[in-house]
């Protein structure tokens, strides 16, 4: 099973406790969305889950094995990680950028195995970039580039996909496209987790939402259970209106609450 578990996970960044004894489980076949105010520790959590950050306490367990003890390429084959606001340094063709996802399998962009080629082609198709394979990744729009980088993560064919703000700075259409890809990945049996700020979108796509606040899991569960007006007031410091529009949860942020009424800064 490719279940990812955090057990008492703590991370200190300098003198700050970025994460404090986090317990959570990411399950296969589910898209888990992590929300929380700025500075809540979302990115730190993703990096720790991906094994890119040494936990100060506790551990991350993937399929019964501590991630910290996995060797680089082995970990990379198991966990695909999409960092926030990724960029491509050189005008590499889109195909080559996506093919970099095969590096953990010991395959180079100019020396892919037939399996690797199929994985890359499938990843490119999954994000709908078939017509872009030749284009230099640096010449693409932000939305197209985000899809390229997502395809790169998919090409690894890791059972686990962690995406840090994959839809930040994307237009509404690209947000839907990317989230749809993530959802399909989950439906295909992968374990998928993404950090997001748009709560309505999160509610729409997530199977489960984890609300992170001040380095702790403040709430987790189904979107309607986590995204409550009280919860948003307490952790985001906003007065919000949560409604159900034809079975869909809609969160409208009305106004910021005065700082004294908040538990978070």
């Amino acid at each position: 099973m490719t279940e990812l578990q955090a057990l008492g996970l703590s991370v200190d960044l300098g003198s700050r406790h970025a994460l404090a004894r986090i317990d959570l489980t990411l399950r296969p076949g589910r898209l888990t969305v992590i929300v929380g105010p700025n500075g809540a520790g979302k990115t730190t959590l993703m990096r720790a889950l991906a094994g890119l950050l040494e936990p100060t306490g506790g551990q991350v367990i993937l399929a019964g094995q501590p991630v910290a003890r996995m060797e680089g390429a082995e970990r990379a084959r198991a966990i695909a990680y999409l960092p926030q606001g990724g960029s491509v340094a050189w005008p590499l063709p889109v195909f080559d950028v996506v093919a970099l996802g095969r590096l953990p399998h010991g395959e180079k962009p100019d020396g892919l195995s037939s399996r690797g080629r199929e994985a890359v082609a499938a990843a490119i198709r999954a994000v709908g970039l078939e017509d872009f394979t030749n284009r230099a990744a640096t010449e693409l729009s932000g939305g197209e580039r985000a899809r390229v980088l997502l395809a790169r993560a998919l090409a690894t064919q890791a059972p686990l996909l962690l995406a840090d703000e994959p839809v930040a700075a994307l237009d509404p259409r690209h947000q839907l496209v990317v989230l749809d890809v993530l959802k399909r990945q989950a439906r295909a049996g992968r374990t998928v987790a993404a950090v997001m700020h748009d709560l309505t979108l999160a509610a729409r796509f997530a199977d489960e939402i984890i609300l992170l606040s001040q380095g702790r899991v403040a709430a987790s569960g189904a979107p309607e259970a986590v995204l409550t007006e009280e919860g948003l007031a307490a952790h985001f410091g906003i007065q919000a209106h949560v409604s159900h529009d034809g079975g869909r949860l809609v969160v409208v942020a009305d106004r910021p609450l005065p700082a004294s009424g908040r538990r978070d800064t």
């Binding site: 490719t2 990096r47 991906a50 890119l52 399929a63 680089g72 390429a73 082995e74 970990r75 990379a76 084959r77 198991a78 966990i79 695909a80 990680y81 999409l82 960092p83 990724g86 960029s87 491509v88 340094a89 050189w90 005008p91 590499l92 063709p93 195909f95 080559d96 950028v97 970099l100 996802g101 590096l103 953990p104 180079k108 962009p109 100019d110 080629r117 199929e118 994985a119 082609a121 499938a122 990843a123 198709r125 999954a126 078939e130 394979t133 030749n134 230099a136 980088l149 790169r152 998919l154 690894t156 064919q157 890791a158 059972p159 399909r184 990945q185 439906r187 295909a188 049996g189 992968r190």
Partner: protein, 373 residues
């Protein structure tokens, strides 16, 4: 774990079929014929072959060109058999400078491409770290302290230490996530400091002849070098090449940034160490035997990218070959330019290299302003 369903096996999706891949092939997408071949993925093999041929031709020219008039055929014969004076000229004077130009040009091109890949920046070069000046300072310090003569194993070690110190200082001051501007300014400062140290050593020198000698040495030249110089530099250059080439896979991943590279299993710390050590050792060894020769490492990668593509790993060896060809061509040129004494090759590379540097900045200034180093 690896048997987990891939994107292609999601319900309702078409299975990854040959037809799709063939379709990609037909449209020339990959490994494409027309568009990619002309713009993105031209044959690296033909580039390598072309460079090797060019280097062969330049090497032959380098053995023929010089103040002593020796006909091409005679020069080649003199290289392999005893032809009296001609053999002495070819084997003891022209062969060492040819080999040095090749070795040093190679390592400059290679480390230039490696550092540009590491810093994800087309303006990176050892000079950005002030390494050549610091290496020169290290060597000058050893010579002036009277520890050794100008032909000693201490010399490359001192130069390498100088280069390493400058890189460490730049990285410590500018920080790892420095912008290009911060990096260039730090490198400028460290290079100036090393230059000032060298000037101080020269001005304190009691021996005017040694001063002249060291000043000319600093200008960078392959004149009057012997096989001893070649043997002094070669082991270090070979070691440095090994270090830089060992980084190639990590460099590919690094094109997507440090975080992604690590998530792809690359050991970024090791990568940085390999490249910085390779650059310092290569620069130190080169400066120790040939003085300061700049801009080859900056220019060479740019010359090969239109042919080899932008993948940093695929640029490495071609950039090394281009560097070798470039420096050898420059060394032939200084012997052909009519002047009373031979123009120093370091002067020529700077005269040609600086405008190129400015041209790259002018062409890419928009993206450079945003780019982290």
């Amino acid at each position: 774990m690896r048997a987990a369903p891939g994107p292609a096996s999601r319900p309702g999706a078409r299975p990854p079929c040959r037809a799709f891949l063939d379709d990609i092939g037909r449209r020339g997408c990959y490994p494409g014929r027309d568009k990619i071949n002309s713009r993105m993925r031209p044959s690296r093999l033909s580039l390598t072959l072309g460079l090797v041929l060019l280097i062969g031709g330049l090497s032959a020219a380098s053995l023929v060109i010089g103040p002593a008039p020796i006909a091409p055929v005679r020069a080649m014969t003199a290289l392999v058999s005893d032809q009296g004076a001609a053999t002495i000229v070819v084997r003891d004077i022209r062969l060492p400078r040819t080999l040095l130009a090749l070795l040093i040009g190679w390592i400059f091109g290679l480390t230039g491409a490696g550092l540009q890949g590491l810093l994800r920046n087309p303006l990176a070069d050892t000079a950005v770290f002030g390494a050549p000046q610091a290496a020169a300072f290290g060597a000058v310090l050893v010579i002036y302290s009277g520890l050794v003569g100008a032909l000693s194993w201490m010399l490359p070690f001192a130069a390498i230490l100088g280069a390493l110190a400058s890189v460490a200082l730049v990285v410590a001051v500018a920080g790892r996530r420095a912008t290009v501007v911060v990096l260039v300014l730090s490198g400028l400062a460290v290079g100036s400091l090393a230059g000032a140290g060298t000037s101080l050593a020269i001005s304190l020198s009691p021996n005017p002849f040694a001063v002249t000698e060291i000043v000319f040495w600093l200008l960078g030249s392959f004149e009057d070098r012997s096989m001893v110089h070649v043997w002094l530099a070669a082991p270090f250059i070979v070691a440095a090449s090994g270090l830089v080439l060992a980084s190639s896979n990590g460099l590919r991943a690094l094109a997507l940034g440090e975080e992604t590279a690590r998530s792809l299993g690359a050991n970024v710390t090791r990568l940085r160490l390999l490249l910085v050590a390779g650059a310092a050792i290569g620069t130190g060894a080169s400066v120790a035997v040939a003085g300061s020769i700049g801009f080859v490492g900056l220019v060479a990668p740019h010359l090969v990218r239109p042919f080899a593509g932008y993948d940093p790993a695929r640029t490495l060896a071609p950039a090394g070959l281009a560097g070798a060809a470039l420096l050898l061509a420059a060394d032939c040129a200084v012997r052909l330019i009519p002047s009373q004494t031979e123009i120093k090759v370091g002067v020529l590379t700077a005269i040609l290299g600086v405008p190129f540097f400015l041209w790259v900045i002018a062409r890419r200034k928009a993206e450079l302003s945003e780019m982290p180093a």
